[in-house]
Amino acid sequence: MTADAGPVRCADLSFSRALVMQIHISPNDGVPIYLQLVNQIKYQVASGRLAPGEELPAIRVLAEQLLINPNTVARAYRELEVAGLVEKRRTAGTYVSEQGSPLARRERLKILTERVDALVAEAGQMDFALEDVLALVQQRHAALQTARAQAVRE
């Protein structure tokens, strides 16, 4: 999450731009909105885009950013809390749990399988052999490792 990430426009002068999550809500795909939120936050935690200890936006702030009902955000946060992914601290604030990603391995595998399926299908359509894809995966893995190490040094 970066401070200036969102293309958010909002009339409220008290609107905080400090925490903007990259989440996209589509009421047109049938999946309940709270579940879209849960899935995307789970994905961001599993993929490391949301780090342990990081604070999630306040319910009201995220509701105004995404233009969805605050109760929907509250429900998503509750589900994530029950799943052990986030925790409430004291009275205010919801934070990504410190124990890293507590998602069950099966859950993580499910998310990953969907992404791999999409990748393999797309690679096939673009005429890449499986070896090319595997090589690319390794190459990108190395590049990300380097980038992450650099970020830690800074």
Partner: protein, 300 residues
């Protein structure tokens, strides 16, 4: 903010078996509705479904022929002052005094509402980019909507009523309106009732939904419940069928040949079992959008 458990507080709006005719047309037919305190209530229905007529009864602008209307526990026709002073209202046609200037209209509206918040009104005027000196007559459609919204919001009403707030507006102004709805309920205990035929907007912000169709209340429930209770089950029968079998819980079906899609209300597992007993294979069991639920309810 609304608690997940329905509150025991008295409802903000209560209609019991309200009927209203205009000549030969029955605009509202024994309509009952309970709008609980706190949260957003979305009233949906096509053109001529009776949404505006219902709202006018809540405001006391129309008197029920039979049945009862209570707003904050009061009869809005008998107690217009006690009711209207606590409501912010944006009408569908945004009837604003064209000859006034923006600043003039703000002072004029302020006189009607003892709780008018001058600083908040000014904040909204600037956020909405409304020129205090501009004549209302010269405002664009979007700016008129924002002007009306300002007048509805600046006294921080307990109940905000928006009649088709988004109709005919560009996405930027629609964002302002949705944002205003969300900010209104984020403050404890305040309630929003809005009518719309833009169901994706209703799906985004509503806690409760009521479907009005040809003057009748078809369905009223919490949004989560409506979403949980409706599923689309896709089936493949062993052989092509001309008339697919009636299945338990099915609201509607469509398809051809061997593949048919059922919209199902209630537990879709029952429908699945019934279909499998007939030798059909279940190809999918998916959630529906509010739009699809609405269509299956009114085209039955």
């Amino acid at each position: 903010m609304l608690s997940p458990v329905p509150s025991s507080a008295p409802p903000v709006i209560e209609l019991s078996r309200v009927t209203r005719r205009f000549g030969a047309k029955t605009a509202l037919n024994e309509v009952s509705l309970v709008v609980p305190r706190g949260g957003v209530f979305g009233l949906i229905g096509g053109n001529g479904a009776g949404k505006t007529t219902l709202i006018k009864h809540v405001l006391g602008l129309l008197k029920a022929e039979s049945g009862a209307v209570r707003v904050f526990g009061l009869d809005p026709v008998q107690n217009p002052v006690g009711v209207l002073g606590r409501i912010g209202y944006l009408s569908e046609d945004r009837d604003l005094p064209n000859w006034m200037r923006v600043g003039q209209f703000m002072r004029y509206t302020q006189a009607f509402f003892p709780h008018w918040d001058e600083a908040y009104a000014e904040e909204l005027r600037q956020a909405f980019d409304l020129d205090a000196k501009a004549k209302i007559k010269t405002l664009s459609r979007g700016q008129r909507a924002r002007m009306g919204l300002l007048a509805a919001l600046a006294h921080r009403p307990e109940l905000l009523i928006l009649d088709e707030p988004s109709s005919g507006l560009d996405p930027v102004v629609r964002r302002d309106i949705l944002g205003a709805i969300i900010r209104t309920i984020a403050d404890e205990g305040r309630t929003v009732l809005f009518s719309s035929h833009l169901l994706d907007e209703v799906e985004r912000v509503a806690d409760y939904v009521a479907i009005l169709h040809q003057g009748r209340m078809m369905l009223t429930a919490a949004m989560d419940e409506i979403k949980d209770r409706h599923r689309r089950v896709t089936l493949r029968f062993r052989e092509p069928v001309e008339h697919p079998p009636a299945l338990v819980g099915a609201l509607s079906f469509e398809g051809h040949g061997a593949e048919w899609t059922y919209v199902c209300a209630g537990d879709s597992r029952q429908l699945q079992q019934a279909a499998q007993a007939l030798g059909a294979t279940v190809l999918g069991d998916d959630a529906l959008t509010l739009d699809e639920i609405f269509v299956s309810r009114v085209l039955r």
